[in-house]
């Protein structure tokens, strides 16, 4: 199945977008959680604080469906 990952902030360079400046097309097996999909494309889950889809928070244990467009957000810790 195919999903599309986007990334915010400093995570963008790690994602290596290929569809446009923000988006990477990822082929993956159905039923895999997002954390495993990230490891599969070489992104450590420690670099992702959370994700969202259609304006809703998705944690890294979320299992994507075909065609999902998911935005990954980096940890942001400063003040």
């Amino acid at each position: 199945m195919v999903i599309y990952l986007k990334a915010g902030g400093e995570l963008r360079s790690k994602l290596q977008p290929d569809v446009d400046h923000f988006t990477r097309r990822v082929e993956t097996e159905a039923g895999k959680p997002l954390s495993d999909i990230l490891i599969g494309i070489g992104i450590s889950p420690a670099f992702v604080a959370f994700a969202f889809k259609d304006g809703q928070l998705k944690r890294l244990d979320y299992t994507p469906s075909e065609g999902d467009i998911i935005t990954l957000q980096p940890p942001v810790s400063g003040g």
Binding site: A46, A49, Q73, P74
Partner: protein, 241 residues
């Protein structure tokens, strides 16, 4: 009761529909962390006439703070942030009472620092004390106005369980943190002011726009995105409260 001077000072904002200056004057607001975020929120909350500001930070002012921490100037270098912040706020609005905590917030002093406050503003610069604040917020039912920044990016949210999710529903410990977080002034300025706005709405009895939601600000592309943060039934903090 507002004095004549206060009536004149706040005469422009009381024109805003739904404004109630007396409610702001009665408010006790805690700002934890007086860096970039805390500088912005504390200054604007003081200017708006929050009656009592509780300020907490154990740090001293360094030269590398001055690109973003607008409470301070070169004459502040080496001085305690909490003292300098009080002096600056006192000069801006002497009618604001300041409660000073010259300390870093930790699990031992959190309860004492939070006592008597109605809302907590996060101006911290690392995740661990944020989780302590979040835990105390959940335990005491006090709203926690989250803010965090890095580079051009910032997050802000208003967490108030059991009505909303809490910070631990959004984030878990263990995320990557650089040794030195990159940051410049506009990012904490923008997020700190949004936090101040949410505090004022709450104090006025209005619904904060970020209640149970998270603002994702990206100054590089100038985008503002707001997402819903649902309660996590497995949250280690608010699901047990």
């Amino acid at each position: 009761m507002l004095s004549d001077k206060e009536k004149e000072r706040y005469s422009r904002q009381v024109l805003i529909p739904g404004w109630n200056q007396e409610k702001l004057k009665q408010a006790n607001v805690l700002v934890v962390g007086l860096g970039g975020l805390g500088s912005a929120s504390a200054l604007y909350l003081a200017a708006a006439g929050i009656g009592r500001l509780h300020l907490c930070d154990g740090d001293r002012v360094e030269l590398s703070d001055l690109n973003r921490q607008m409470l301070y100037s070169e004459s502040s270098l080496g001085l305690l942030k909490v003292e300098e912040a009080s002096r600056r706020i006192g000069a801006l609005n002497p009618s604001v009472a300041i409660v000073r905590h010259n300390a870093y917030l930790d699990s031992r002093n959190a309860a004492e620092i939070i006592a008597g406050c109605q809302v907590i503003v996060d101006g911290l610069d690392s995740l661990e004390p944020r989780f302590i604040l979040n835990q105390e917020s959940v335990l005491r039912g006090i709203p926690y106005v989250y803010g965090a920044v890095q580079g051009w990016q910032g997050y802000a949210g208003f967490f108030h369980p059991p009505q909303t999710a809490c910070l631990a529903c959004l984030l878990r410990p263990g995320a990557f943190k650089p040794d030195r977080v990159p940051v410049w002034g506009v990012t904490p300025g923008a997020i700190g002011l949004i936090q101040a706005g949410e505090v004022v709405k709450w104090t006025l009895g209005q619904n904060p726009s970020l209640q149970g939601r998270l603002l994702i600000y990206d100054g590089a592309s100038l985008s503002f995105e707001i997402i819903s943060v649902e309660k996590d039934p497995a949250c280690p903090v608010c699901s047990r409260a």
